[in-house]
Amino acid sequence: MFKSDRVAQILNLVTAGLLLVATAMVFFYAPTEVTMGAVQRVFYFHVAAAWVGLAAFMVTFVAGLVYLRTGKHLWDQIGHASVEIGLVFTVMGAASGSIWARPAWNTWWTWDPRLTTYTIMALIYVAYLMLRQGLDDPDRRARFAAIYGIVGFISVPITFFSIRIWRTIHPVVVGGSGDAAQGTFHMTSPMLQTMLFSVFTFSVVYVCLLVNRVRLEDLAERVEQLKVRMLSA
């Protein structure tokens, strides 16, 4: 799957098509929400981006476990690629949420439990990338990264459940929001369909990026191996 050019090309085309449909649904199919106006449309891709961020870190967790068990290098590549992609989606989620929050909460940012745990989680995975940069030996780097990816994953369920455990102004999409939540709205059927389709589309975008990122990692390793071989010759 990761090595095949054909699979990557098909996946790229399917992803582009889904993204076009999802964008059209957000702007032309979902109705305008009455209390927040046009900015509510940010919600669809905000939820999808945040979901993919969390899912990507879960993939790193699983990849870490499988790597430690099998020692197969591909799982280290998947774990690394997944953190990088997950961070991009996490930043997208945070930035779009902040833009939505300005008219909905009257502030760009607040140290609410969800936003705080989300930030800590993002920093934990930034540190993952820094840790990898600091280790030269590939086997040691893969082992450390796998363990870090497993331990660091504890931040993901804490972030996910933070809005259900603590009193927060962040709305809950699945299940009811608490009393303190601000910016909640009644989700009509087209809104729900658009949200679910956006989440599905972003999940496919993630798989597509993962395949392409692992291929890029492969190229980087070929260059590195050639350098080592030439230096030792």
Binding site: A38, V42, F45, S96
Partner: protein, 51 residues
């Protein structure tokens, strides 16, 4: 109740949502280009070394 005009926030939101992945993909493009250049150079040097 009147619906507020939040269109500018919508534009800003989608500029970020499409802009960030665009920058990320651009970084891939640069990385791939540099790696391919390195690979070609290393292969040339490797061939010369063998001769």
């Amino acid at each position: 109740m009147d619906t507020p005009d939040t269109f500018n926030y919508l534009l800003l939101g989608y500029a970020v949502l499409f802009g960030l992945p665009f920058l990320y993909l651009l970084s891939w493009w640069f990385r791939r280009r540099n790696l391919q250049r390195d690979l070609e150079l290393l292969q040339t040097l490797n061939d010369e070394q063998k001769k």
